[in-house]
Subunit: 186 residues, 2 copies
DNA sequence: ACCTGAACACCGTTCAAGT
DNA sequence: ACCTGAACACCGTTCAAGT
């Protein structure tokens, strides 16, 4: 029974990401993660407090990926077009990685217990706020409380993403879903 | 060991609703429901296919209650005010019964396996569509695809509800949350 | 410091009974 | 028809070890 490699933590995270994509929050099992990483079922406790702690790490990684997607989608455009494209990118991310998206928003990690995860979520929202502020500065959105306008935009795309993943919309192709999203952001 | 009363099914449903309110989808356990109903841990299988089936029944009941709340909130007002009030009622319901709301939208019951639940959700959406249609007929909303307009309104309030329950907004009182919601629906 | 194996108290689900 | 009790294969988490 030899010891494991030096960086079990990263191995566990990778296995957790794979398992998340495959089965979602409900099938996410500490013992299965350990199995995939090739270690005993309680080796993870050396690196994560408990199941929720590992899940929070997965969520944090998701927020960073989402943030990257939004920023990439918004390059080279007018302020309002940037805002819209980032919103479409948000929904696209949710449709492509529904299970990861569910871990990010449906797991009850609270901000005080999982500060890293909360910080990653904050960075996402910060990106949105910056886009809204640019629109207001350019006169493409009415002036006013920037945060509230950003929360409103976030709510709209988040609702579309969630309802779509819950199967509440009648459209079944991702392309059709994104067309609806684009129209809703007009 | 005497037999149980005649309508164990309703007793189980009541216990399931209580347990849902207390602990949410994650703490929802078939064995705990049976315990609260005072029967053995597999008596529920006489009345529900499995855990997800009982959960779907809980969700269906939630959709009917939500529908009632939306309709009651929308009495005696102009078409546009009815639509807005029903949207605020939607968010208010989610804030008051966060766990029940989570069971309704985060459990992966699919429409084909749980037709009763899907029908209850459809009735909710139908209420929204009727309000939107009335607005269009009265010239208080621009004409166009009624369903798409309703899906857009649904997405907005659903996103507000979900993000609020996920703790992503900075406001902590329900009153403040509903003020934001009312402003977002302007 | 880092990992293992046994152990405990839970699950969902199935099956052979009992009335 | 409706319910019980034992059984099976899983969990998360803890604890006493091993290297």
């Amino acid at each position: 029974m030899p010891y494991h490699h030096g960086n079990l933590k990263q191995t566990l995270l990778d296995a957790a990401l794979e398992l998340t994509a495959a089965t979602g929050p409900r099938g996410f099992t500490l013992r299965e993660v350990a199995r995939r990483a090739g270690v005993s079922h309680n080796a993870p406790y050396r690196h994560f407090r408990d199941r929720d702690d590992l899940l929070a790490a997965v969520a944090a990684q998701g927020f960073d990926q989402l943030n990257g997607s939004m920023q990439r989608a918004a390059r080279k455009a007018t302020p309002l077009a940037r805002l819209r494209r980032s919103g479409i990118a948000y929904v696209d991310f949710a449709l492509r990685w529904p299970q990861h998206f569910a871990v990010m928003f449906d797991s009850p990690w609270n901000k005080s217990d999982y500060p890293e995860c909360a910080a990653a979520a904050e960075r996402c929202f910060g990106t949105l706020v910056a886009f809204v502020a640019a629109c207001q500065a350019a006169g493409e959105l009415p002036p006013g409380n920037t945060d509230e306008a950003a929360y409103r935009a976030w709510s709209l795309v988040h609702g579309i993403a969630k309802l779509a993943n819950a199967g509440q919309f009648p459209w079944h192709s991702r392309a059709r879903m994104l067309r609806f999203c684009a129209a809703a952001l007009e």
